[in-house]
Symmetry: C2
Amino acid sequence: MSTDSRQTSTGPRQMKLGAFLMATGHHVAAWRHPDVPANAGLDFKHYKHVAQVAEAAKFDTLFIADSVAAATGDAASRMARSDHFEPLTLVSALSAVTERIGLIVTATTSYNEPFHIARKFASLDHLSGGRAGWNLVTSDAAAEALNFGRDEHIDHAERYRRAREFHQVVTGLWDSWDDDAFVRDKASGAYYRPDGLHVLDHQGEHFKVKGPLNVARSPQGQPVVVQAGSSEAGRTLAAQTAEVVFTAQPSLAAAQAFYQDLKSRAVGFGRDPESLKIMPGMFVVVGDSEAQARDKFEAFQALVEPRVGVALLGRMLGNFDLSGYPLDEPLPALPLTQSGQQSRQALLSQLAQDENLTLAQLGRKIAGGRGHFSVVGTASQIADHWQAWFEQGAADGFNVLVPHLPGGLEDVAHKVIPELQRRGLFRRDYTGSTLREHLGLQRPANRFSAQREHRVTHTDEEGLKV
Amino acid sequence: MSTDSRQTSTGPRQMKLGAFLMATGHHVAAWRHPDVPANAGLDFKHYKHVAQVAEAAKFDTLFIADSVAAATGDAASRMARSDHFEPLTLVSALSAVTERIGLIVTATTSYNEPFHIARKFASLDHLSGGRAGWNLVTSDAAAEALNFGRDEHIDHAERYRRAREFHQVVTGLWDSWDDDAFVRDKASGAYYRPDGLHVLDHQGEHFKVKGPLNVARSPQGQPVVVQAGSSEAGRTLAAQTAEVVFTAQPSLAAAQAFYQDLKSRAVGFGRDPESLKIMPGMFVVVGDSEAQARDKFEAFQALVEPRVGVALLGRMLGNFDLSGYPLDEPLPALPLTQSGQQSRQALLSQLAQDENLTLAQLGRKIAGGRGHFSVVGTASQIADHWQAWFEQGAADGFNVLVPHLPGGLEDVAHKVIPELQRRGLFRRDYTGSTLREHLGLQRPANRFSAQREHRVTHTDEEGLKV
């Protein structure tokens, strides 16, 4: 198991794995479980341990979600949701206690300024030696809007136009400097080459940003851009701009269709399909036997209060307050959401109908996987599913969701990962040092340097020496 | 020297010390010096070393300045100014490799959202176990405005009104939760006490922010609030809201007047003068003899190009472009700046007049200390000055500015600090674990919890049991 079979970039295709970290785990009742530190959300030692477990298992990356509002109300007071580290500060600290693993962090385009986001992620990329990734999201919750001077969240179409422009500004700022602009020549006194500086001077519908960024171009050239939108607008934006897509898919067939659709769209935008990695979420509960895995899962399920499960369901459906509806009746008909959860809403409504579930039953059903494909079983059973998805055109890898932390991730690290390694489906060691290298993503050329080279070439063709 | 004479909170008054960190040091030509790593601004190992040197010397805090714009232009291309870590990400990483030292970071109120700032500093306070400080500034440079959708920086009065309200919102959000709101009771399923939650619901001239914050109240209750404004509006704001003031004072007499003025103003606002610590900057070059210190200093001075010194001068005077003025003529008459540098402008104009300096000479003169009081000499001579200021009503402590890093700080740590300790003027070890404890600042009560207790008391007086 410890023999070194280093993968090179020309070796067989292997899956990419992200460790999706919610403080106490992905199961809504995880915090109540005796094995789980209930205060994990604000315990740096906990996160340090979890990050080091993931790194020892050679995960490509950590993945940390975010919201810019606390959850309040009766059900929220019974969930571990309102007392977490802000993720950029958290992963900056984690960068100092890890060496190789990627650090993907969520930051919203709806209530931020592109200069700050460009700068913080470039800084994180420098701090970590090239391990930063930005999960670009839009904000769909009224509670978030209310913290930033608005009465309502921004409507779907507008939010995506803003996100598209936000991405243009951020990536433009990341190219403010040539990779070799900072010469720092002590003898001559030249600190940077003036012709290595590029002023963005962006003026658009939502933003006016001059630049340049006050951070040198970062080790990865640009931090990796990640997205998770599955709506029409979300897919279009991802196909244009994302390098990694995180998605919730209920079945192999649905995942195959999504994979095919997104890769085709990317090609339609002139992109190499390999430049976009699709990583569906996979919720897993690992046991030494299937029965043991089921018992583990049931121990979490037994801790779900109906009102908490239903509150989580309301959020999954698009920030609906379902607290007024009877628990033992079917899911009521709901208006099509204006939020970012349209695809999740369709998926869950279908599930409720197919299995004839009451509201409480549906809430309990999604308490662990939250709409992601779930496998409760042995390492071998889990690897079978992942292998099928990976080899049958449904995924380039997975975001791994575990019911509880750190135990659930330790189970994956110590049982599932070795099984994948035996099958040749996952690396035994890192071969690169940056997140891009782990994921097999090219380091982007600087758009301005490329232009300059292009201009020079063009001039050369006219027979001039420049 | 290593005998333990632990200071208790009831021991003799001792000075507070901050290590003011610019990447390569405070001297504008430091990066050209052979002892200095020219790429320090983006070298985490460098900052880690510097932070650990300061912590081993028992400094109260690190102090990191900021600007939200790159410096561009001919002179800027010859200064180490445009390629630094973003400071909040930097100190978050430093929090993971230090244990006791405070972490004061600058963040502007002019181009940020209070929710983000409240959240990030609360998060840093949790990450670091209570060591966070926020240096609240306003932004006076047009280059910064241009990165945030504006053509001009916000005018002085407006900027301070905004800063005042920004402070109200941030500190209000820091009190979103009672210290004991998160009960996390696994048996009952109660994660937080609903009556421990306080919704700010702020609506003001500049901001509308509902809250609550999605971070529990932090170890210090509130991160320490630091300011550096010396204008009339700056002093008023500091007297109302600051817990630490960083200031540039040219002489003992001026520092005494400033100290007296600010403490009186604080008392005028109903505050205990001890709740506001005044820490002037002290630029020091340490030698084993005075002659050696002078030689050291001259080695830096010799590396200053006239155009670079004059560019720095322009910035000190309030973002003036002086590149068109003759180098060998006196400082031209300049319009009173609208920026935050009025007091610095008056100070430097006076200096130029008193010493009859040309523009180039004045630029060179401020290349190290940048208007701060400077001592070039032995540890004993430096300690004499600090002791005089400390004992004669000019300072509660100092922000220490060194020409170069890490060498300049190592000199202070290994030579000046032991001298201060011998004189009983500085701690030999930390006695507390939070920045507030180091500085002798009270942990603030939660305004809402206090109200609630007040209400209960009031009701009791009416003979009711609640």
